[in-house]
């Protein structure tokens, strides 16, 4: 006999197992304990004495059970039920009389459903409740593989991005030197552009890199120059050409000079 208890616990007398269908955890019972538990469920609500239980087993299976060990078998079954997350009071002790299986438990007989067919079908026909089987393992493996591929592609893209050599920069147009546009790489906040950037840039340009047609300047002073002290100033001049509306730079010349640009 096999039973489904409260649609949560599957018990198979033949296989001697108690299985929690939610967690798929399982406990194994001895043959005698499984027989006793099956009898109690079959006689649900009726109190069976130790003699009744021993007599039933002896008559049906021609197997003798000592009366004093029946309590131990029932204790084992209770522990197994508790381990499967089921109530220990499913089997009620009536002092000096015997035991009965609680009427509060919904016990559905699912004959013919041993552990093996359950594993193959993946479904309890009587309840329609699914349990975890190898099919689920295969599905999960497939899904995991897909997930792994998706994560790998994502990681690869991230890695490709993080392994890029350069980051973009957006120079800021701060004015002109002659007819050449002047760009700063980073503008100091709160600085007066003319004093901090344009005047030093114009001085470097006049000394080393005068404005030439179709050229553009990039300028960056160090913090000393930006604050009016002698220091290093960087100026680059590049040719800016445009073909088919697409801008292209070339022929860059860099000047890096130390000097006093505010005197």
């Amino acid at each position: 006999m096999s039973y489904l208890l409260d649609k949560k616990i599957f018990f198979s007398e033949a296989a001697g197992i108690i299985r929690n269908l939610d967690s798929d955890e399982m406990q194994t019972l001895s043959v005698t304990a499984a027989m006793i538990f099956s009898l109690l469920i079959e006689q649900q609500g009726y109190t069976l004495s130790k003699e009744d239980i021993a007599g039933y087993i002896e008559n049906k299976f021609n197997y003798k059970v000592a009366h004093n060990t029946i309590t131990q078998y029932i204790s084992v079954v209770r522990k197994s039920l508790v381990l499967m997350g089921f109530s220990a009071t499913a089997i009620v002790t009536v002092p000096k009389t015997g035991f009965y299986f609680s009427n509060e438990i919904v016990a559905e007989q699912v004959d013919g459903m041993s552990s093996a067919p359950l594993s193959q079908s993946g479904t309890l026909a009587a309840s329609g409740q699914k349990i975890f089987t190898y099919r689920h393992v295969v599905k999960l493996a497939g899904l995991s593989l897909l997930a792994a591929m998706a994560v790998a592609i994502g990681c690869f893209q991230y890695q490709k991005e993080s392994y890029s050599l350069e980051r973009d920069i957006e120079p800021v147009n701060i004015g002109q030197i002659g007819k050449c546009p002047l760009y700063a790489l980073i503008k100091e906040s709160g600085s007066e552009l003319a004093n901090a950037y344009i005047i030093p840039a114009a001085k470097v340009a006049q000394a080393k890199l005068p404005c030439i047609k179709d050229h553009i300047f990039f300028f960056q002073p160090d913090s000393l120059v930006a604050q009016g002290y002698p220091g290093n100033a960087y100026l680059a001049r590049c040719l800016l050409s445009s073909t088919d509306g697409h801008q292209q730079y070339g022929q860059c010349e860099n000047v890096y000079l130390f000097g006093d640009y505010h005197s």
């Binding site: 920069i169 730079y249 010349e253």
Partner: protein, 157 residues
């Protein structure tokens, strides 16, 4: 039991992804650019150096920096013609660590390393340098830090 399977699959997923994406370093696109650089240091007796620069990053985490140029004062003339070979690693996007592993000098290169480092570029054999690389159109800005450019060079498109 079921939760164990899920945890197992999750761990396997992450491992597969990590091995797939990170185990083998992925090459980056190669970059080649060139420009000229004129520098005058704060040291008054040093001449003004003007050099041509070609910077090359290969896709195999190796690169080369070629420099040629000259400088002169009333009593002396310096010639520079050398190439720095380096390996590089991308620490993060736009930040690169260079490890110079070989310096080739033309026999006519008569500039001492001290003068070169002081007047041209602070780079030498066996030296490790971290630079920042910023891109604007087809220009590459080689920066010491976010506010200190070293030079800008243009790449052919």
């Amino acid at each position: 039991m079921r939760i164990t399977y899920f945890i197992g699959f999750a761990v396997a997923t992450v491992l597969v992804a990590w091995l797939t994406a990170f185990y083998y370093p992925q090459p980056v696109d190669k970059i080649i650019c060139s420009s000229t650089l004129t520098r005058k240091s704060a040291y008054a007796l040093d001449p003004v150096f003007t050099v041509g620069i070609t910077l090359y990053f290969s896709a195999a985490n190796r690169g080369r920096l070629s420099i040629y140029g000259s400088a002169a004062n009333k009593s002396q003339m310096w010639h520079i013609q050398r190439a720095f070979k380096f390996n590089y690693t991308v620490q993060e996007k736009g930040t690169i660590e260079l490890n110079v592993n070989h310096v080739w000098k033309h026999p006519s290169d008569n500039t001492s390393d001290d003068i070169f480092i002081r007047n041209v570029l602070d780079i030498g054999d066996g030296q490790q340098r971290t630079i920042m690389l910023r891109k604007f159109e087809n220009l590459y800005f080689i920066m010491e830090d976010p506010s200190t450019p070293i030079f800008v060079c243009s790449a052919p498109e």
